[in-house]
Symmetry: C2
Subunit: 352 residues, 2 copies
């Protein structure tokens, strides 16, 4: 039987049941990002997820997105969401390796998988379930949040030819890459993005690892350090969405699926944006700054970096059985993925 | 004012207005695939999109998915959707190059972009708008529909060393790859998948290009043709969703965004699935069939294939201005993307 129901919408804004049983309640969530609202590509990913959730839910799922300029705690996202001050966070898992070293596995690791290999491991090879094991004890759900693509090894004022050239080098390289470099004698430091150009120009530091052409040139690094080294430390830097599990479970099922899909679409789109902007920027830099020299660390240095990386991981694996489980899961899949990449992508890039 | 509305759901199944103005009408669409419902990965992508649309819409968007075993026309999807016999199709654009040669650009082209480069071109570099220009005259909307990843060059019973070895070779390679090979003297043929193994075993054909390890080994090709050649002809084979524009526009805005997001999530997931299965399969084949030799065509052959590809494209560009526009758009972006890939992914694959 077909019945057309006409109601005065204004009298029914708070709660009702639709004819399909669909809850018409509006859910309002708050998301905190590690970046400013104006940070290109990264903030755009969080804002895109919020926009999609709004549109797909026909306005029933509203997400207010706050940047670091508002909440003032770029590395406090994890605690914000854990404590319920925010419902959702857009951040990078490895920022919280001080809380739990296992969190590095869900961003990227030195000499690790490429973005597509990492997505396969995460979505198909058990990575998602392992990530959730790490996050669940904090009452958090975790989702991938967009990839920057392969990150470059950094801008150096002088060429690095031998292991000796690294001894005492003042190099801005945070995180795991910094720890590995420190084992080779590098003076690894972290400096706020806003001070990087000046520090490099004044000689306070000798080199800077930031992201990739599009992001790096916004800081002007290419103007004062002509040696641009290729990637080893962050082959697939993935951001993440985290959400307070209790808040998530309060959403009806359709809005849960909408939110997860919004995260996934925004994640997929971010890598396309980053790759596109990097390609355009690199073409322009090559033209405008022909003096820039792209270099790859020598085999001697790369081998030493690999050994140092392995030492850090193996040491941690002895202390933490879940760390060991995740490490072995990644190593086992990466071995297979590399063999396939070897005869597919790698050969093709040499052939075309 | 808060009013709780309780209604007998059974009396309102067809059409109503929710308290947020959300239409509670159920929309039923039909999707036809070029593959059988049991075809792994490919069919799973269409079924996943339908499942997501259902869940995100809380059952208001129902998509019935029919495989080729039902509609009997794997290459008739374009006409089905154009004529409105089906609302949605899941197929590959290049199947319809006979109708319009421009359609090859939205699947993959010989020596073209990698999947991630192609996604960047499509979503960020104007590709989507160019695709729509080609499809709009047929009353169709087009969306990307999942990537198989780089496809291998095929299984050969004998090693191909020189251009002369290709002359008269009976090679199952359809599409544009076949046209290019034909220019080099190959007897390029198309044979139904179900007959490939037998044709190769009996010597009716000398070689078969199919997809990649996961798909190829299901046909058993690795058991009778030990030379496995690397990729050149399909570096980024993308499927597509097409939808009848009139049908799409009848959907309310939230369901339109839900459907597009469902397509995009399923698209993103497909490449992870294909890469994952290829990695696992290749690891197993290497172990079980150590006699298989991976080969790359010689520089002489690759150069000849490049020249033949360019000739086919340049000839067509003279006849069709929109073809020329798309070709130039792809070439211009690929040039930049290759320069970035050269110092990022390519070097990294050699370094790690």
């Amino acid at each position: 039987m077909k019945i057309l129901v006409k109601v005065a919408l204004s009298s029914l804004v708070v709660l009702g049941l639709t004819t399909t049983g669909l809850s018409a309640k509006t859910y309002k969530l708050k998301m905190a990002m590690s970046w400013k609202k104006t940070t290109p590509i990264l903030a755009a990913t969080a804002l895109r997820a919020a926009e999609l959730a709004d549109e797909m839910s026909d306005g029933r799922l509203k997400i207010r997105v706050d940047g670091a300029e508002k909440h003032k705690a770029p590395f406090g996202i994890f605690d914000f969401v854990k404590q319920g001050l925010y419902d959702i966070g857009h951040t990078a898992s490895y920022y919280y390796k001080g809380k739990d070293f296992k969190m590095v596995f869900f961003t990227t690791v030195p000499f690790g998988m490429t973005p597509n290999e990492q997505y396969s491991w995460y979505y198909e090879g058990g990575g998602k379930e392992l990530a959730q094991k790490v996050y669940e004890k904090h009452g958090l759900l975790t989702f991938m949040g967009g990839n920057t693509g392969i990150q470059m090894g950094g801008w150096f004022k002088k060429e690095i030819k031998h292991l000796d050239d690294l001894k005492g080098l003042k190099f801005r390289i945070p995180g795991l890459g910094g720890e590995v470099m420190a084992k080779l004698g590098v003076n690894a430091v972290n400096i706020a993005p806003g001070e990087l150009y000046m520090s490099l120009e004044l000689g306070t530091i000798d080199a800077v690892e930031w992201v990739s052409p599009y992001f790096d040139t916004k800081l002007g690094l290419h103007k004062i350090a002509p040696f641009y080294y290729t990637a080893w430390q962050e082959p697939a830097s993935e951001l993440q969405f985290i959400i307070n599990e209790k808040k998530f479970k309060k959403l009806p099922n359709d809005l849960q699926v909408i939110l997860k899909s919004a995260f996934k679409v925004a994640t997929f789109e971010m890598m396309q944006k980053a790759n596109y902007q990097n390609a355009l920027t690199w073409a322009k830099i090559k033209q405008d700054y022909p003096n820039i020299k792209v270099k790859t660390f020598s085999k001697e240095i790369i081998d030493a970096l690999k050994v140092a990386t392995k030492e850090i991981f193996d040491k941690e694996a002895k202390k933490d059985s879940l760390f060991k489980e995740i490490l072995e899961s990644q190593r086992e899949y990466q071995k297979k993925a590399e063999a396939w990449t070897e005869i597919s992508d790698k050969v093709y890039l040499q052939t075309r």
